[in-house]
C-alpha cells in the first residue's frame, strides 16, 4: 500500500522534474496561467483515462473510447445545428446517455456473449466510426454552424479555470469516491484481482465488467461533447488514435494491464504527465517528428519503470510471504 502511494509520489516528482527542465528553456511555461491551460487541455484525457482505468481494473480494455467520443460529439454537434436553441444542459445529458449506451453495448457483448474485450472494442471502434460517417455523410460540422453557447459553455472561466477543467475535477472527485467508498468500486478491484474468488464471493464478474464499460462509455460521451465544443469542429476522424493515449495514461499511472491494480490519483498523474509532454515539446521548439518519438519514449520509460517497481514489489512479497507469521 505504501509502496503504491510512493509510486504515485515518484510519478508526481517526475512531473515536477519535467516542469523544472522545461522551465530552464522556456520559463513562461511554468507560469500559473499556462499551467492551468495545460491542465485544461489535458482534461479530456483525464476524463477518458479515469473511465479506461475502471475497465482495465476488471481485466478488460476499451479501445472504442475515442470512436465513442467522436460519435457522441457528432451527435451533439448535429443536434446543435438542427436545434440551436437546445440548452447545453440537455445536450450534456444526451451526450452522457449516448456514451453510456455505446459503453453498455461493449459491456453486454463482453458479458453475455463472452467475447474477449479487445475483440469487442476493436469491432465497435470501427462500427462507431462508421456510424459517424452514416450520420454526417462524411461532412464536417464547422464552428460557424455551432451556436455560441455550444462552443462557449466549456470555456466559461470560473476562478481562472475554464469549465472544462472544472468538469474534469468533478469527475475525478466522483470517481475517487466511487472507487474507494462504494461496494461497486470494491467489486471492480475484486473482479480484476481474482475473478474466481470474486465469483465465490457472490460478485457477478460479467456484470462488474458490464458496469465498467458503461462507466467508461459514459465518460467518453461526456468527453465527446467537451472535445467537439472546444475544438469547434466535428468530423469522422476526430480524436483518431486517442484511445492509445488514454490507455497509455492509465498504464503510466500505475494501472496493471493484468487487472486489479490502479488508482484514481495515479491515473490523473499519468494523464498529466502525458499532457505536460505534449504541451511542452512544441513550445521548446522540437519538431513534430521528434515530439512523437519523445512522447513514445516517455511512455516506454514510465511503463518500464512501473513494471520494474511492480516486479520488485512482487518479489519482496514472496520473500516475506514465506516467513510472515
Amino acid at each position: 500500500m505504501s509502496l503504491l502511494k510512493s509510486r504515485e509520489a515518484i510519478l508526481g516528482a517526475a512531473i515536477v522534474a519535467l516542469l523544472v527542465l522545461i522551465a530552464t528553456r522556456f520559463p513562461a511555461f511554468v507560469e500559473p496561467k499556462n499551467l492551468l491551460e495545460v491542465f485544461n487541455d489535458t482534461s479530456p484525457l483525464i476524463i477518458l483515462a479515469l473511465g479506461q482505468m475502471v475497465v482495465i481494473l476488471t481485466r478488460c480494455i476499451d479501445l472504442s473510447v475515442a470512436a465513442n467520443l467522436a460519435l457522441t460529439g457528432m451527435v451533439c454537434a448535429m443536434l446543435n445545428v438542427a436545434w440551436p436553441g437546445m440548452p447545453i444542459g440537455v445536450i450534456m445529458v444526451i451526450a452522457l446517455a449516448c456514451g453510456a449506451l455505446m459503453g453498455a453495448v461493449n459491456g453486454l457483448l463482453v458479458w453475455k456473449l463472452d467475447i474477449p474485450p479487445i475483440v469487442v472494442t476493436l469491432g465497435t471502434m470501427t462500427i462507431y466510426r462508421g456510424i459517424i460517417f452514416l450520420l454526417s455523410g462524411g461532412a464536417w460540422v464547422n464552428s460557424h454552424e455551432m451556436s455560441r453557447a455550444f462552443t462557449g459553455v466549456p470555456r466559461t472561466q470560473i476562478l481562472g479555470l475554464p469549465l472544462l477543467g472544472w468538469i474534469a475535477i468533478v469527475v475525478a472527485l466522483i470517481m475517487a469516491v466511487v472507487m474507494s467508498r462504494t461496494p461497486m468500486g470494491r467489486s471492480f478491484y475484486a473482479t480484476g484481482n481474482n475473478p474466481h474468488a470474486a465469483v465465490y464471493t457472490g460478485i457477478d464478474v460479467g456484470r462488474s465488467q458490464f458496469l465498467a464499460f458503461t462507466i467508461s462509455g459514459t465518460l467518453a460521451g461526456l468527453a465527446g461533447y467537451l472535445w467537439i465544443s472546444r475544438y469547434a469542429v466535428a468530423y469522422v476522424d476526430i480524436a483518431g488514435g486517442f484511445e492509445l493515449d488514454v490507455v497509455a495514461a492509465c498504464v503510466i499511472g500505475g494501472a496493471s494491464i493484468a487487472g486489479g491494480v490502479g488508482t484514481v490519483v495515479g491515473t490523473i498523474l499519468g494523464a498529466l504527465f502525458l499532457g505536460v509532454i505534449k504541451n511542452a515539446l512544441p513550445v521548446i521548439d522540437i519538431s513534430p517528428f521528434w515530439q512523437m518519438a519523445i512522447s513514445g519514449a516517455a511512455i516506454l520509460v514510465a511503463v518500464t519503470f512501473n513494471s520494474r517497481s511492480g516486479r520488485a514489489r512482487g518479489r519482496v512479497i514472496l520473500k516475506s510471504a514465506e516467513h510472515a507469521q
Binding site: 470474486a198 465465490y200 457477478d204 491494480v261 510471504a321
Partner: protein
C-alpha cells in the same frame, strides 16, 4: 542428534548443505542450516510454514543463491548459479504447484527444453515419444505420450511432472508436497514410485505435512524451525510426538479436538441433485450442529456437487430444502443470502483476493451490512473484520496488510473469517487444511468444532482420512459422481471409507490401514 554420519554407517551423502544462510530484506530465511541426502534413501524435510523448506528447495534447484555456506556433491563444493546448473548436477524437483503446459502433448511437456534432436537440429518427435513412453512405463503410468496435457486428470498430470523430473539424469529428486492434490489410492501409487526410485539409488528429499506418509516412506528425517536446523536422524529412532515437538518447539498432543456437539433439527435437505456430466442422484440431510464429512477420491464429484449447491453451476434436476422450505439457488449471491457459504479448496485461485488488504477481503461478501446509503464505511468494516479475525486468532501486523503477504494458514483464516462474517447457517469447507502447517491445522479444526457447538452446520470435504475420521459426526462417501455410502459410528473406519471410495465390494483393502 544432528550427527547423522555415524548413525548412517558407511554411506556418504550424495548431496549436503553446510551452513547455508539466506537473508531477505528483513528476514533470515535460512540461518546456517545443514542437510544431508543419501543415495537410495528418502529424507523427509519437516517444518511448519515459514520454517525455510521452500527456500531450501529453491537453493537446491538454483533459483536462490545462498549468502553463505556450501553445497557439497560427493563431498566436493558446487554452485548452482542457475536452474540449469542444478539440473546438470542431477538435482531435479517436482514442485508443489507443477508448471506444465496444457496445449502441449505429454511427450512435449516431459522434454520441453531438452528434447532429443535429429537431423538439422530439429526435434526428433519419434525418439521423444519413445523415450517419453519408456519413462512413463518406468513409473507405471498408463498415459499416451501423444495426448495433450489438458485432456488429463490431475493425478495423471502429476505423473507427467514426475516423468519430466526423471527425464534428466537425476541423482537427487526433490518432492515438494507431492501428495497434496492426490487421493488415497493415487498416494499409494506414488509411494510405490518412490520405492522404485529408491531402488535405483536416487536420493530423495520429501517435503510433506502429513505424518502418516512420512512414517510410511521416509528413512531419515530433518527438522527445520524458523529458518534454523533443529536436527536430522533416522526415522526408526523417533516417533510422531518427537517430530511434532521439534517442529513446533512445544508439544501438540491433541490433533483433533472434536467436541461433542448437540445435534439438532434438520437444516438442509438435498433431494435428487443431478448434473449432466458431474454427478447424479445426490440425497442427504444435514442437521444443526453437525459436521458432515464428504470423502472420496479426487474426481469423485464432491467439489463439483458443492459448487452446484451454491449456484456456481446449475443442476439439471433436484431440490434444496433449507429449514424445511424449498430454496432455489441460482447464484453464489443467492446462496450467501440463503445462508449457505462455500470455502473453496484452492485458496489462491478461488478464496482470497491476494492484492486486497485483510479487512476488505473479510467484508467483501458483507458489504451490504457495513455500508450505509450505498457507501462503504471503513470503521464498520474494520470492526467486522477485527471481530472475526480475532475469533480465528489471526496473526497479522495490521488488518491493512495485503492477504498475499500472509502465510498459507493465515490466508485460510482470512477466507474462513470472510464467510463467517456473513453469519451463515451452513458452511461448506472444501479441504480446509490442505497444505497448511500443523499449528494452523489444529486451529482450523478447533474452530470447526466450536462452530458446530454453536449450532452451525458444517459440511467438510476432505481427502485426508485422519481428518475425516477425527472431525465428522457422519460421513458421506462419493464415488464417480454418486453417493457410495453413508457411514457413522462403528461403521466409520479407514477400511470402510477406502473400500466404498474405491468401489471394492468383496475384500477389505489393506492399503487403507
Amino acid at each position: 542428534m544432528d550427527d547423522t554420519r555415524s548413525k548412517a554407517g558407511a554411506e556418504h551423502p550424495v548431496l549436503a548443505l553446510d551452513g547455508i544462510t539466506k537473508t531477505f530484506p528483513g528476514v533470515k530465511a535460512l540461518d546456517g542450516v545443514k542437510l544431508a541426502l543419501y543415495p537410495g534413501e528418502v529424507t523427509a524435510l519437516i517444518g511448519e510454514n515459514g520454517a525455510g523448506k521452500s527456500t531450501v528447495v529453491k537453493t537446491l534447484t538454483g533459483i536462490y543463491q545462498p549468502d553463505g555456506g556450501q553445497i557439497l556433491m560427493d563431498g566436493q563444493p558446487v554452485a548452482f548459479p542457475t536452474a540449469q546448473a542444478a539440473q546438470d548436477h542431477g538435482v531435479t524437483a517436482i514442485h508443489q504447484e507443477t508448471v506444465l503446459f496444457d496445449e502441449l502433448s505429454v511427450a512435449e511437456n516431459i522434454f520441453l527444453g531438452h528434447a532429443p534432436r535429429g537431423r538439422f537440429g530439429l526435434i526428433d518427435t519419434a525418439a521423444m515419444k519413445a523415450r517419453a513412453r519408456a519413462l512413463l512405463d518406468g513409473i507405471g503410468a498408463q498415459i499416451d505420450p501423444g495426448v495433450k496435457l489438458k485432456d488429463l486428470g490431475i493425478a495423471s498430470r502429476h505423473l507427467v511432472a514426475i516423468a519430466r523430473a526423471l527425464s534428466v539424469e537425476a541423482r537427487v529428486v526433490i518432492m515438494d508436497e507431492p501428495t497434496a492434490a492426490l487421493s488415497q489410492k493415487e498416494i499409494e501409487e506414488l509411494y510405490e514410485l518412490v520405492d522404485t526410485l529408491k531402488a535405483q539409488g536416487k536420493a530423495i528429499l520429501f517435503i510433506s505435512h502429513k505424518f502418516d506418509e512420512i512414517f510410511r516412506i521416509a528413512d531419515r528425517w530433518a527438522v527445520f524451525r524458523d529458518g534454523q536446523f533443529v536436527g536430522q536422524g533416522l526415522m526408526r529412532d523417533v516417533d510422531e510426538g518427537d517430530l511434532v515437538r521439534m517442529m513446533v518447539g512445544r508439544s501438540v498432543d491433541q490433533i483433533f479436538p472434536k467436541r461433542a456437539a448437540r445435534i439438532g433439527e434438520e437444516v438442509l435437505k438435498v433431494v435428487g441433485y443431478a448434473h449432466p456430466t458431474e454427478f447424479e442422484d445426490i440425497n442427504f440431510t444435514l442437521r444443526r450442529g453437525e459436521i458432515l464429512g464428504f470423502y472420496g477420491l479426487v474426481g469423485a464429484g464432491r467439489s463439483e456437487f458443492m459448487q452446484s449447491l451454491i449456484g456456481i453451476t446449475r443442476p439439471s434436476k433436484g431440490a434444496v430444502k433449507l429449514d424445511g422450505k424449498i430454496k432455489v439457488i441460482r447464484s453464489p449471491a443467492e446462496a450467501i443470502s440463503a445462508g449457505i457459504v462455500y470455502v473453496p479448496e484452492d485458496r489462491g485461485k478461488q478464496g482470497a483476493i491476494l492484492d486486497m488488504p485483510i479487512f476488505q477481503n473479510v467484508t467483501l461478501p458483507s458489504l451490504g451490512q457495513t455500508s450505509k446509503r450505498g457507501f462503504t464505511r471503513m470503521a464498520e468494516e474494520f470492526a467486522l473484520a477485527r471481530h472475526y479475525t480475532e475469533r480465528l486468532d489471526l496473526r497479522a501486523a495490521s488488518l491493512d496488510t495485503r492477504v498475499g503477504a500472509l502465510s498459507g494458514g493465515n490466508q485460510q483464516k482470512v477466507v474462513i473469517a470472510k464467510w463467517l462474517a456473513t453469519q451463515p447457517k451452513v458452511i461448506i469447507l472444501d479441504e480446509p487444511t490442505k497444505g497448511i502447517d500443523i499449528g494452523s491445522k489444529a486451529a482450523v479444526h478447533d474452530f470447526m468444532s466450536e462452530l458446530a457447538a454453536e449450532g452451525l452446520s458444517v459440511i467438510m470435504v476432505s481427502s485426508e482420512i485422519p481428518e475425516i475420521l477425527g472431525m465428522s459426526d457422519r460421513v458421506i462417501v462419493m464415488r464417480e459422481g454418486r453417493i457410495a455410502a453413508e457411514l457413522e459410528g462403528d461403521a466409520l473406519t479407514p477400511e470402510t471409507l477406502v473400500r466404498h471410495a474405491a468401489g471394492i465390494t468383496h475384500t477389505p483393502s489393506e492399503a487403507a490401514a
